[in-house]
């Protein structure tokens, strides 16, 4: 569980960095880092699901998380980097922070 907490914490930090890059109009750098963050998020969603099923923690809305990722992809497709930054900063990070609060 500690490993999972650390994993989520890393995701939060990396996502914040990526969001800041988009706010600073450093789009190529942002998209460059976003790829690896999305990979990390995909793996962690699996791990979170397994943890939820086996231990009942954390309690999170998987479909909402996936929906947020979908909105992020849409912002990417529309090349709206500031909106992408917003979704990462305020929607995605918020959900991961709630998840992390539940992990020991």
């Amino acid at each position: 569980m500690t490993d999972l907490k650390n994993e989520i914490q890393t995701i939060i930090e990396e996502t914040k960095e990526v969001a800041d890059l988009f706010y600073q109009q450093k789009d190529s750098e942002g998209y460059g880092k976003l790829g690896s963050v999305i990979d990390m998020i995909s793996k962690s969603i699996e791990n979170l699901f397994v943890a939820k099923v086996t231990t009942g923690t954390p309690d999170f809305d998987q479909s909402r998380l996936l929906e947020t990722l979908g909105e992020a992809m849409k912002a990417m497709a529309e090349m709206d980097s500031v909106l992408l930054g917003d979704i990462l900063q305020y929607d995605l990070i918020e959900q991961f922070e709630k998840i992390n609060a539940q992990l020991n």
């Binding site: 600073q24 450093k26 930054g85």
Partner: protein, 659 residues
């Protein structure tokens, strides 16, 4: 809530010109609205008529709005809107060419602005931040928090529509009243951006510039962005070219200035010339490019029908064909005497600077008209109660002639011989080849007068940029015709053969020689006496500089030795630094400072070019002050010794006039 009035009040204090443009724009909109109202009424009648005939009208607004400035077509916002963000702040958006751009975060625009602004470093001194886009002020407000007293912020807003919207819907008074912050709206007052940038950026802070794009502006206004960066690049080129010119010619300029003092009493002012020259007189600037050979004979038809100004290099070619220009112009400190070898060339009224080649000025028998003065003499003319214009001359005689024509409010101007390119192997008329320093490394290609590419070099490329920038600034106030009929294309200038220009615009005859002859040189005994006192004071200053700068240089040397021995900064060193800084302030106030400064440019550039760059190592920064002061004051001491006998000579000459 409407903030226009309060914003205008704030703007009037910092930028009265822009406030005036806004008021004119409001009036134009009111007139247009009234007109539109009438048109709408008629349109409605027409629509009803068509409806009766079962025809449908397309009433959609044209979203591809543009405007033209300096011959370039720029994008403009069709719609501008405000929306509310998730945290109940404002989001500014605009539709440009069918695409809607949001200039703020839809969630938390203030937090976004803070994160965006945090990427810019403001540690250096005398920063000049050029910003593309005003937006709704949120981002600018965050930047201002980092602005120090000696930093300058220049904002270029490419959309008048967005600017008016924001001025109406947002309280910008804190931004508009910010010290050393200036706003330029394309196309209203963009010329102000050229001027402010030119004044704010110096070789000592050129590396301390910040170039900033407001989020989304580059995407929304690509053409304006291109112009913005072009202006910055050209300004940087100018800064370093001017610096290099001073390094190379500084001593010669100072020597010429002092030696040419005696001819001041025999000169006319450009200001008096401006007051009497008739605005409808067209002008032709004759440069010595290789294409001059092709149309020089046409000039005979323009004699007494246009003001013909010949650059120094073009004078021999004109005299060879018995064409006497109305004015010649020379500005270089080290010009070849070949241009004024012929006796008849020396009687042509001569536009010059006080630092122009002494050997040319001293032999000239015609009237001298100073373009403007070396700073050493601006102070003197202020003592006479006279105003000497100060303007950028662009670095060449042709650009200087252009600047003079702008100053004289000439409305129609033709350039001939302005190739700014090679023709075959020739650089000048009559097949002549004049080379410059580093010529082989500065070769380039430019767009040709007739299309394609032409071979050019770095200094001509710089002058071309200057012409294009000036033409952009003059906009509709002056018709500029490139009648070179060869060489490089000058964007913004209308291309027309010289014969056609003369036929179209040089129809009336003017008695220019009579006018010039009638201009009396006003030099009074009082001026002689004031000048004598001024020069005497300058001699005393040079005496002090020889003595005191020598002492200061030695003092700095001692401090450096002490530090090298101990590695520590002591109170004694801090006190000595204060002593040197106080002496520096005294030197800066001296009348001869501008002369000395030109002479030691190579030393000051070497030691001060990174003076405004932030340094982590504070001890090293402290000691760098003494290292640079040691060298600079040694150079000041030597130059003061060199200039002293020259100034003494001029002083003696004025004494004989007083006696």
């Amino acid at each position: 809530m409407n903030f226009l009035t309060s914003n205008l009040d704030a703007l009037r204090i910092s930028n009265a010109e822009l406030a005036e443009f806004i008021l004119q724009e409001i009036k134009t909109d009111e007139d247009k609205a009234e007109q539109k109202g009438k048109i709408e009424q008629e349109k409605q009648k027409e629509q009803e008529k068509q409806k009766e005939q079962n025809k449908q009208c397309d009433n959609s607004e044209n979203e591809n709005i543009k405007y033209t400035y300096g011959g370039i077509v720029f994008e403009e916002a069709a719609h501008v809107e405000n929306a509310v963000s998730r945290d109940e702040n404002h989001i500014l958006s605009a539709t440009v060419e069918g695409t809607t751009y949001r200039f703020n975060s839809a969630y938390r625009p203030l937090a976004e602005a803070m994160t965006w602004a945090a990427q810019f470093e403001w540690k250096n001194s005398k920063i000049v931040a050029s910003i593309f886009g005003l937006g709704n002020g949120y981002c600018i407000r965050e930047l201002i928090k980092s602005q120090k007293e000696n930093d300058t912020i220049l904002i270029v807003e490419p959309s008048p529509k967005i600017f008016m919207f924001v001025m109406t819907h947002y309280d910008l008074s804190d931004i508009l009243q910010q010290k050393n912050l200036y706003i330029f709206v394309l196309p209203w007052n963009l010329f102000g951006f050229f001027d402010h940038l030119g004044r704010a950026v110096h070789w000592s802070n050129a590396e301390c510039q910040l170039t900033i794009e407001h989020p989304q502006y580059a995407k929304a206004f690509p053409k304006a962005k291109e112009l913005f960066y072009s202006i910055l690049r050209k300004n940087n080129t100018r800064v370093f070219t001017d610096r290099n010119t001073e390094i190379y010619f500084g001593k010669r300029m100072a020597e010429n200035t002092i030696k040419n003092i005696k001819y001041m009493s025999n000169s006319l002012s450009l200001e008096s010339f401006r007051e009497v020259i008739r605005k409808e007189v067209p002008a032709i600037i004759v440069s010595a490019g290789p294409s001059l050979d092709g149309n020089i004979e046409e000039l005979k038809k323009a004699k007494n029908r246009a003001l013909i100004i010949a650059t120094d290099s073009a004078v021999p070619a004109l005299l060879k064909r018995n064409i006497i220009p109305d004015l010649a112009i020379t500005i270089d400190a080290d010009k070849s005497l070949h241009c004024f070898e012929a006796m008849e060339s020396r009687s042509i009224p001569l536009l010059c600077e006080i630092q122009s080649t002494h050997e040319i000025i001293s032999k000239h028998t015609g009237k001298l008209i100073y373009l403007h003065c070396h700073p050493y003499f601006i102070n003197l003319y202020e003592k006479f109660g006279e105003h000497i214009p100060v303007f950028s001359v662009g670095g060449s005689v042709a650009t200087a002639a252009f600047a003079v024509c702008e100053y004289l409010n000439i409305k129609k101007l033709a350039l001939i011989g302005q190739d700014l390119a090679y023709k075959g192997g020739a650089s000048h008329a009559d097949g002549e080849v004049h080379t410059i320093i580093n010529e082989e490394n500065g070769q380039c290609e430019l767009e040709g007068y007739y299309g394609g590419q032409v071979k050019s070099r770095h200094d001509w490329q710089g002058y071309l940029a200057w012409f294009e920038e000036e033409i952009l600034k003059t906009d509709k106030n002056m018709l500029v015709v490139n009648a070179t009929e060869g060489g490089a294309k000058i964007h913004g200038a209308l291309q027309m053969p010289l014969a056609e220009f003369i036929e179209k615009y040089c129809m009336e005859s003017y008695e220019l020689n009579e006018f010039l002859d009638s201009q009396n040189i006003v030099w009074t005994p009082q001026k002689t006496s004031v000048t004598d006192e001024y020069l005497e004071a300058g001699l005393c200053e040079l005496d002090r500089l020889q003595k005191e700068s020598g002492r200061i240089s030695s003092l700095c040397s001692e401090i450096i030795t002490l530090f090298d021995r101990t590695g520590n900064i002591t109170e004694h060193m801090v006190n000595k630094r204060r002593e040197v800084e106080s002496y520096n302030r005294e030197v800066n106030e001296m009348s001869v400072y501008s002369l000395i400064d030109a002479c030691i440019r190579d030393v000051t550039v070497k030691w001060l070019q990174d003076v405004n760059i932030y340094k982590e190592d504070k001890k090293d920064e402290f000691m760098q002050f003494f290292r640079s002061s040691k060298e600079i004051h040694a150079a000041i001491r030597d130059m003061a010794a060199m200039l002293h006998p020259l100034l003494m000579d001029s002083c003696e000459w004025f004494k004989t006039k007083t006696d």
